[in-house]
């Protein structure tokens, strides 16, 4: 039974290809794009906002059951872009881990610690053949006691970085280009500016104006560090503000 570069198994499990690449990990990234959703996250001076599309494929579906935004603890949120089933298992494990952390150490799990945990778990899937990488990019947001608002992105390869703003999903690159221009001079966005930058980034990249029911918005604010999903009315207010501004 010879493996190595023969047999093409480098495409089926996470072993190295002759160029030193991991095809399974690269395919996992493609699976994230294939989900057809784009997500955006923006970090402001004292708040973090994440926005994602809400695509309901069938009118008979119960809209309220379709979500990509998950509270992990009261203070930590996770936006999962990609395969929904993989997202749910990731969220389940993250919730468990965060709860254990709180129990074990007596204080809330910080954003970067949770992100590192998610990333380390993803790394295991890239090194052990028995489990495939998850087809999910996770954006974790929260307010850190010392560092303030934090936005981290964890990908199937096991990388995780803190971001001032970022994107994931089918139009990831266009969104990042848009955000790079906006964040060039390190602006310190207020809460409203943060939310509106995130929503308008999504609108610009997808080239359509949304109705409040077509997107999901999650926020954390420094003055009230609870992770909250915005209600339709609140999203409407922001959408109106954006269209009046333009």
């Amino acid at each position: 039974m010879s493996r190595g570069s023969g047999g093409g198994y480098d495409r089926h499990i996470t072993i190295f290809s002759p160029e030193g690449r991991l095809f399974q990990v690269e395919y996992a990234f493609k699976a994230v794009k294939a989900a057809g959703i784009t997500s955006i996250g923006v970090r402001g001076k004292d708040s973090v906002c994440v926005v994602t599309q809400k695509k309901v494929p069938d009118k008979l579906l119960d809209q309220s059951s379709i979500t990509h935004l998950f509270p992990i603890t009261k203070f930590l949120g996770l936006l999962a872009t990609g395969m929904t089933a993989d997202a749910r298992t990731l969220v389940q494990q993250a919730r468990n881990e965060a709860a254990e952390f709180r129990f074990r150490y007596g204080y809330e799990m910080p954003v970067d610690v949770l992100s590192k945990w998610i990333a380390d778990k993803s790394q295991v899937y890239t090194q052990h053949a028995y489990m495939r990488p998850l087809g999910v990019v996770a954006m974790v947001l929260g307010i850190d006691e010392e560092k303030g608002p934090q936005l981290y992105k964890c990908d199937p390869a096991g990388h995780f970085y803190g971001h001032k703003a970022t994107s994931a999903g089918s139009k990831e690159q266009e969104a990042i280009n848009f955000l790079e221009k906006k964040m060039k001079n390190d602006p310190a966005f207020t809460y409203e500016e943060t939310v509106q930058t995130a929503i308008s980034a999504l609108q610009s990249v997808l080239q359509e104006d949304f109705k409040a029911t077509e997107i999901e918005v999650g926020v954390v604010k420094a003055d009230n560090p609870v992770f909250r999903v915005l209600l339709t009315e609140e999203i409407d207010e922001h959408l109106t503000a954006i269209s009046e501004r333009d």
Binding site: M1, S2, R3, G4, S5, G6, Y9, I13, T14, I15, F16, S17, P18, E19, G20, R21, L22, P110, D112, K116, A119, D120, S122, Q123, V124, T126, Q127, H128, A129, Y130, M131, E146, K147, Y152, A157, G158, H159, Y161, G162, H163, K164, A165, T166, I176, L179, E180, M183, K184
Partner: protein, 264 residues
Amino acid sequence: MGDSQYSFSLTTFSPSGKLVQIEHALTAVGSGQTSLGIKAANGVVIATEKKLPSILVDEASVQKIQCLTPNIGVVYSGMGPDFRVLVRKSRKQAEQYHRLYKEPIPVTQLVRETAAVMQEFTQSGGVRPFGVSLLVAGYDDNGPQLYQVDPSGSYFSWKASAMGKNVSNAKTFLEKRYTDDMELDDAVHTAILTLKEGFEGQISGKNIEIGIIGTDRKFRQVSALTLSPFLNILLMEKWPFGFKKCQSLVLTPAEIDDYLAEVE
């Protein structure tokens, strides 16, 4: 290690007697960002490029050079996630040694144990080799030491070495510049010059990382960011009882830029 479904090794011999998965892992290392290390008469310096995928990434959240013990630091070229696993395992091994012998682990021992982990992953069932090469820099009773560990698990002690994209140019440069009686400051300058050789774009305190250890035997990261020391300790995971916390005195952007100015 690995599930029973995969109780066979994925790294097997080719007809020519090579372990191709390890060769591919080395290719992965060779396409990683350049890093290098120089052993001076009174210390060791390790340095690396820190190119981030976008300006939107918060540099403060990324730290490529890590402390394994208060007097041993490490840098890598290759896959970041694999590096994190090795750092975690090495730290634990160092701590276990300390618990048993009540003294800091010598550099050679730690390198040996880390290399053994990397070798395990080339032979065990259901896993692939690590896609990183490490440069371990430390100062113990045997003086300053620099080791390079490869994905195969083999390691060698080096006077100066480089890894990653620009390895051949960097090594040629180091061969010319290296002298056995180099001082630590000279070594830092040489390290920066070597990085500059292959650097695309403008080098600055924000897109390189430097770690140094001198006769005080305290590993320091000269980072471009004014992180508070406390923050840096948090980034390095909880440190167990009875073992001094890694004193990463993080220096200001000014310090790296001072070095850069002297170099020019």
